[in-house]
């Protein structure tokens, strides 16, 4: 089965891509998918502990299983624009 992967900010820069299609086995969780991705893009390794996961633009827990056709996003800690006025 297939899933679409989206990367943002630092992760996108490190992997050198914002979006990719991946082939994956049945029953893989989102965190396992990230581990697989970090195998292909070693620069991503070590970021797993700080990530949040989203599937089809909704946050999900790290053990959420990926379904065929899902859009999976890996979300680094946020730093929204409000930050510019925060300290």
């Amino acid at each position: 089965m297939k899933a679409k992967v989206r990367l943002f900010a630092r992760l996108s820069d490190l992997a050198g891509l914002r979006e990719t299609e991946v082939e994956l086995g049945e029953g893989l969780t989102v965190s396992e998918l990230f581990a697989a991705l970090a195998h292909t893009y070693p620069a991503l390794a070590g970021y797993a502990s700080s990530l949040m996961y989203a599937v089809n633009a909704e946050y999900v827990p790290s053990d959420h299983p990926v379904q065929d056709g899902d859009e999976v996003a890996f979300i680094p800690p946020v730093s929204g624009g409000a930050r510019c006025g925060s300290r």
Binding site: Y47, V78, G85
Partner: protein, 143 residues
């Protein structure tokens, strides 16, 4: 209610007009503006990245939470992404309510919440190079 991630310059005037209601006497508006310095260093410009579909959903939820806590009439939030120069506006939060106290409190709370939960990232480009700024759980600080 308007929740928008956009590459275009923000329009606080429009948001202010949109949230205003005939029964509401107060509108509080916050603008986050790109500063020329950060953590003691000179900033040349910023780049914002976002996951727009999720960000807009999260903003809507945060606004719904504000409406449960305060008698807020309406809320609008816009965040810009892409390259922003010093002095450009990255964030606008506009809140209307019958009374000014609630407008101020809800607007302040929304800006704080926004920072914590909306999937938007900032890259600071300074004289010494560029760096993605991340929240509390930044990987380099994680155990």
């Amino acid at each position: 209610m308007r929740f928008e991630i956009t590459r275009e310059p923000l329009d606080p005037q429009r948001l202010t007009q949109e949230v205003r209601r005939d029964e509401s006497g107060a509108v509080a508006v916050f603008l986050g503006v790109v500063r020329d310095n950060s953590r003691g260093r000179r900033v040349l410009h910023l780049e914002y990245d976002a996951y727009p579909e999720l960000a807009e959903r999260v903003m809507e939820r945060v606004a719904a939470e504000a409406k449960e806590r305060w008698p807020v009439t309406d809320v609008a939030i816009q965040h810009r992404v892409g390259r922003l120069e010093i002095g450009e506006t990255s964030l606008v939060v506009a809140v209307s309510s019958p009374h000014r106290k609630e407008a101020f409190e809800a607007c302040h709370w929304l800006v704080d919440r926004f920072k914590d939960v909306v999937p938007i990232w900032k890259k600071e480009v300074g004289e010494g190079g560029e760096e993605w700024i991340e929240g509390e759980l930044a990987p380099e600080e994680a155990p």
